[in-house]
């Protein structure tokens, strides 16, 4: 293109027939090029471009790797079925380093440089909180797969939506009754000391109190910590249940040191699988976990009674029966969270089809179409289970799994209902302006 322009400029100063012909030829071949014609004549067949804010590096890297694989698989499935409104889906990936500041820069880069249709895919809550204002200012839809309560809290803006994964508040409310009636009523919380952990702290206590239980101690741990033994003495000896949730590269150390400290004779353990996500349960030193319980968004291990669409989903994203990569048995997936990418992309597809999305001018219409959604049936588009979307708080609600470690594998022993986790909306995004 630039070469072409140059030749035209030079032709004004000293026009020779040869340069003029060259310029004409170049221009003609550009117009005749297949890509040019397609986009020039039919805007509607240009790809829909989604900016994927991915934790490729930093403390969220293990999640980022699997979010990327699931995204690739989901996009392939959507494109194989004809794309969205007849247009193929294209993913543009930028690494945010699991860093809030970089996250906001990435959103800006997506909007101004890549000129994508929307941004999607963020997991870590501090990155979501850091990036959301940028998405609001740039008026670009921001579909997160994060679990945090920040979307549902109403503190973000109308462009931020979480339609593929349940938030922490609903998760803890749905598991609390089970913990109180099966494990014990005196609970000590061990959680990472930042937004995501604070959601656990703030919502579990009222939830367990409603069941007649109590939180006897709270042990916050800085998210960058690499050694944990020093925190365990803060757990009171009359604790019935240790409720643990940890994130970051040191999760294996956390669980191992907990095992060294308590052995198998300590209090009951109820963990959010985050404490073990991307970690092999058969790792040495984790034998003490046998018999303990975990929350799982979606089961890591293939369950005997799983529907066909779950089997198909697991095959598409490339995980074996143990939840490890089909190519490398040591590469354990983040199965309990990554389904959110698959489901979110299907929600994006449904929203774009509902509003007949044409381009960036339809961004507001797309958000409105998402807000109008309610029931989502379990199936190939929603393999984790049926969902209920609340357009007022831009948050989806779903069923949760409680699994027990048996013979070194996680076996689902209880599935909560959507009603177990439901709560009164505390905000209404639909009244906010775009």
């Amino acid at each position: 293109m630039s070469e072409n322009r140059k030749s035209l400029i030079s032709s004004t100063s000293g026009l020779s027939r040869r340069t003029a012909l060259k310029g004409l030829g170049a221009a003609a071949s550009l117009v005749a090029a297949p890509g040019f014609v397609r986009y020039g004549q039919a805007q509607s067949s240009a790809p829909i471009r989604i900016g994927f804010q991915c934790h490729r590096t930093g403390i969220g890297a293990a999640y980022g790797r699997w979010y990327e694989r699931v995204t690739t698989a989901a996009v392939k499935r959507i494109n194989d079925a004809g794309g969205i409104n007849g247009r193929p889906l294209e993913i543009v990936i930028e690494d945010d380093g699991t860093d809030p500041k970089r996250g906001a820069e990435v959103v800006e880069k997506f909007a101004n440089q890549h000129k994508v249709d929307l941004v999607y895919g963020t997991l870590f809550s501090h990155v979501v909180v850091g990036s959301a204002p940028a998405a609001g200012e740039l008026k670009i839809p921001y579909y997160v797969v994060s679990e945090g309560y920040h979307v549902a809290s109403g503190k973000l803006n109308r462009y931020c939506v979480q339609p593929g994964i349940t938030d922490v508040k609903a998760q803890v409310r749905s598991v609390a009754p089970w913990i109180a009636s099966n494990l014990g009523k005196k609970v000590t919380l061990v959680y990472p000391d930042y937004a995501f952990g604070h959601d656990h702290r703030d919502f579990f206590e009222p939830a367990i109190k409603a069941q007649g239980g109590e939180v006897v101690a709270k042990v916050p741990i800085p998210p960058t910590e690499s050694s944990f033994t020093r925190y365990f003495p803060q757990i009171p000896s009359d604790t019935d249940v240790i409720y643990h949730v940890m994130v970051g590269p040191a999760v294996l150390t956390f669980v191992k040191e907990m095992g060294e400290f308590f052995g198998s004779g300590g209090p009951q353990l109820f963990g959010f699988i985050d404490s073990l996500e991307a970690v092999d349960i058969a790792s040495p030193g984790l034998g003490f976990l046998e018999g303990s319980h975990f929350w799982e968004g979606m089961p890591r291990y293939a369950q005997p009674d799983q529907p066909d669409y779950v089997t198909a989903y697991r095959e598409a994203v490339g995980i074996d029966d143990n939840g490890a990569s089909a190519k490398d048995a040591k590469d354990i997936s983040t199965a309990a969270h990554m389904f959110g990418c698959w489901e979110t992309l299907n929600v994006i597809k449904a929203a774009m089809e509902a509003c007949d999305y044409k381009g960036v001018d339809d961004r507001a219409a797309m958000i409105e179409a998402t807000e109008a959604m309610t029931d989502m049936e379990a199936g190939p588009d929603h393999p984790q289970g049926k969902k209920l979307f609340n357009g007022k708080i831009h948050q989806v609600f779903g069923e949760q799994n409680i699994s027990q470690v048996a013979e070194g594998k996680l076996k689902v022993v209880h599935r909560t209902s959507i009603e177990d986790g439901a709560y009164e909306p505390e905000a209404d995004y639909t009244t906010m302006s775009f």
Partner: protein, 293 residues
């Protein structure tokens, strides 16, 4: 938990920190003592040691102790070789000018870190401990491996002490440290001694890293915290003083273990930094360091 066992646990944790820290800080202190080079890339040699330990231990199957021992032997050697080459290619060409070497080692820090990210990846990977025994005390359990780290670290410190005070190599190093030009006049190949010391310092950091990977995991950003703590230890102990380094490492390790357990980890870091400030104001050469000549 009662005060007694609580204190015991805090002390044990502190001693493990001190053991690893003293090895690492000793490397930093040697490099500064002999070469007058502030090695900002020291933490990355530590990280490299951990990453290589994972790589070596994943090469062999069988009992985890085999992989661990292989890593314990090979990883420090490889790291030392890399440091040797870096010294010859970069630091020696800068004539060891203090400002230039600081900038150069900062550059080295980023190069090593980003190479690790590129080739090793962003994951944290564990190395299996050579043994997984759990010592159960009446109040809590403790990892036997952690205790063995303390023991091994003491052995390494003794070996370094013997090397420095009882061997010809140590004599040459001390001579170079005392007066570089006179040493050169007496036929000591100062350039090679410098390269050797730089390699030894990096090797010690790598040993510390191999000892820690079964407890923590190898990760490309793991070098930063130990680097800061090592600087704190070296400043308090006195640059170039082996005894000072050990004493300061135990002091910082124990205070970190005990204060962070009874109060908060942040307070422990604040106090360590405060001690550094006090030492710099009232005894700039460090507790055991000789005043600059």
């Amino acid at each position: 938990m009662a005060f007694g066992p609580y204190f015991l646990l805090a002390t044990l944790e502190g001693l493990v920190t001190a053991a690893v820290l003293s090895l690492m800080a000793l490397g930093l202190s040697l490099v500064f003592g002999v070469m007058r080079v502030v090695n900002v890339a020291h933490g990355e040699f530590y990280m490299l040691g951990a990453v290589l330990a994972w790589w070596f231990s994943s090469l062999v199957g069988g009992h985890p102790a085999v992989g661990f021992l292989l890593a314990l032997v090979l990883s420090p050697l490889v790291v030392a070789a890399i440091a040797f080459v870096a010294e010859r290619l970069v630091l020696s060409r800068l004539n060891y000018e203090p400002e230039a070497t600081i900038v150069a080692t900062i550059g080295l820090l980023y190069i090593i870190q980003q190479l690790a990210l590129t080739f090793y990846g962003p994951e944290a990977r564990p190395v299996e401990a050579p043994f997984n025994h759990r010592i159960s005390l009446p109040w809590f359990g403790y990892s036997a491996y952690k205790l063995s780290v303390i023991g091994f670290s003491i052995l390494m410190m003794l070996a370094t002490w013997v090397l420095l005070t009882r061997t010809k190599i140590g004599l040459v190093m001390r001579a170079t440290q005392f007066d570089r030009e006179t040493a050169q006049a007496f036929g000591i190949p100062v350039g090679r001694v410098y390269a050797g010391v730089f390699a030894l310092g990096a090797g010690l950091a790598a040993v510390a890293a191999v000892l820690i990977v079964p407890i923590q995991q190898a990760h490309y950003l793991m070098g930063l915290d130990p680097l800061l703590l090592s600087f704190i230890v070296v400043i308090i102990g006195g640059l170039g003083s082996l005894r000072g380094t050990v004493v300061a490492a135990v002091l910082i390790g124990l205070s970190d273990g005990i204060i962070s357990m009874f109060f908060s980890p942040t307070l422990a870091k604040m106090l360590a930094t405060l001690i550094v400030a006090m030492v710099l104001v009232f005894r700039p050469q460090g507790l055991f360091g000789a005043p600059a000549r």
